[in-house]
Symmetry: C2
Subunit: 333 residues, 2 copies
Amino acid sequence: MKVTISDVARLAGVSTATVSHTINSTRYVSGDTKEKVYQAIRQLGYTPDASARSFRTGKKRTIGFIVPDISNKFFGTIIESAENHLSAKGYHLIIANTKENMDREETNLRLLTAGLVDGLLVASTMDDFQRLDSLIPPGFPVVLVDRTFDARKYSSVTVSSFQSIYQSVRRLAGRGKRRIGLVAGLPRLSTTRERVAAYRAAVADCGLPPEEELIVYGNSMEDSAPPCLDRLLDLGCDAILVCQGLMASVTLAYLRGKGIRPREDLELVSFVDYDTSAYEFYYERVDRIVQPVEELGRIAGEQILLRVETPAAPVEERVLTSVYRPCGEQESV
Amino acid sequence: MKVTISDVARLAGVSTATVSHTINSTRYVSGDTKEKVYQAIRQLGYTPDASARSFRTGKKRTIGFIVPDISNKFFGTIIESAENHLSAKGYHLIIANTKENMDREETNLRLLTAGLVDGLLVASTMDDFQRLDSLIPPGFPVVLVDRTFDARKYSSVTVSSFQSIYQSVRRLAGRGKRRIGLVAGLPRLSTTRERVAAYRAAVADCGLPPEEELIVYGNSMEDSAPPCLDRLLDLGCDAILVCQGLMASVTLAYLRGKGIRPREDLELVSFVDYDTSAYEFYYERVDRIVQPVEELGRIAGEQILLRVETPAAPVEERVLTSVYRPCGEQESV
DNA sequence: GTGAAAGCGCTAACAC
DNA sequence: GTGTTAGCGCTTTCAC
């Protein structure tokens, strides 16, 4: 049978209120009484029931995280670093995987906001802010992670790569490259859109012809890189910028399989969104754009707790920046 | 204000019992009444409160997963595939990360079993079964994942690599290799112990001298491979078997950095624990031992729901097997 | 075919 | 310094 707070109270010869206050340190209890209570708790092996507690208080001490792809190490790292902060503050993390599917995101938003969690981290795959917004109960604490929307209604933590991309394209142009291809992720994502915009801006500013066909999109999830690369190769690109981490990892392997050597045969810029040994083979041959992934996760954790515990806090948009590392440059230690 | 079931009942002109039965399809309700209830629900935007519900029923529809390292894609993939099954059955997944730390595992076991989840998946980092066991309330549904213990008290899903390792060592010996080094993960884990045992058995059966110093251990988590490799290289190994996925990925990059060519300079067997492009550079030069990761996750999900929903079901130990792929062999499609 | 009402285990006024 | 007790929102028995 389940041991309840009344059992403890009875055995300790005190009221349930005293037991509750003792274990929660929520009002003064004399040393003597405390002792009796803890003694009874130990004797009975009592553990307060978490669901009764959260039902009563309305606090679940749980945060939900809606993620597009858990098996992507980029999100794995964000989760780890967010969970790290949350667990230190006594919170749990519920994960929901959408596989970049908007309907799955909708379902999860509904489920998680229905009294399951105190707040929500969302790396949204929605194309439409209205749709996301309409699924979130008014006042519900939400922090957008990695991907955001123009409407600045919710707090967000994102990484801007505008500068890095701009710089990298300029550098390619400076080396005489004229046909610079761009492999991008899902077109609807804010991250993709910013990256494409940066590319376009740089191409224009370098006086290169703006050829829209040099921009090709994958799905941000599976290894959709090869067809994109084939396309760009067919179009005679002399440089390729892959601005999505998963696709960038695959790119190296794919090009090698085709006997195309980075740098010698084709200039390459790769997004790096998680620790991987893939680039150690080639780090002196490809330019990299590195995202501050751990920081992204840590700040996501901080921000959602801020919103949960201080709902009145102003909406905050944290923008981190990725770093451009031209090839040959060592990691800073 | 929060909309409750009584608000709905009042507006629909029925009792709360009827509303409850209507939304749960738990007893007959006339079409007319149903209509009125749903109408009221829509009008008020009512969502049943999940914590009230789970408090009342004792069911949380949530499973906990205690993982040693979320940012390791091996576990990311297991999580994805477990979550996939769980969410299809209407369950949520709570993640706790232990970072291969036994105290963190203890804390998480305590927290999660205190009424937060209906059942627990555990990829345990404990060295001592007693310690794990003592933290689990009697009768609490638990499935051990990837790592298990000799005491067959809980259901488990694991991958055996005995055969693969045995075969791979024999093959190396058959090619004339005499000093075969083994890079292993954390010594206390059941996975590591089985792998080392398989290695020892094969070494003995091949008539090679059993040199214990050729077995070196890392920490299963960070990239602890380099010191292990240096050690084995110093000892004059002509072949190395890396039987931990993360360490195996790093190995390729590290050896390349040292100018050591797989196959030509050193025979290599690598564990592959997740989809990665790392091996595509070298797949024709290194032997691989591939684990059925998705299946591991899927079965973990199935098993824990079985235990949660049918507590009387007998303890089940599912053992999958990894596959040995000598180099040059194509993936089966 | 539907309603009334008793709690699930806990917290937090309010009382003394 | 501690006790009494009213619920939190829901499910479910019992009754009609």
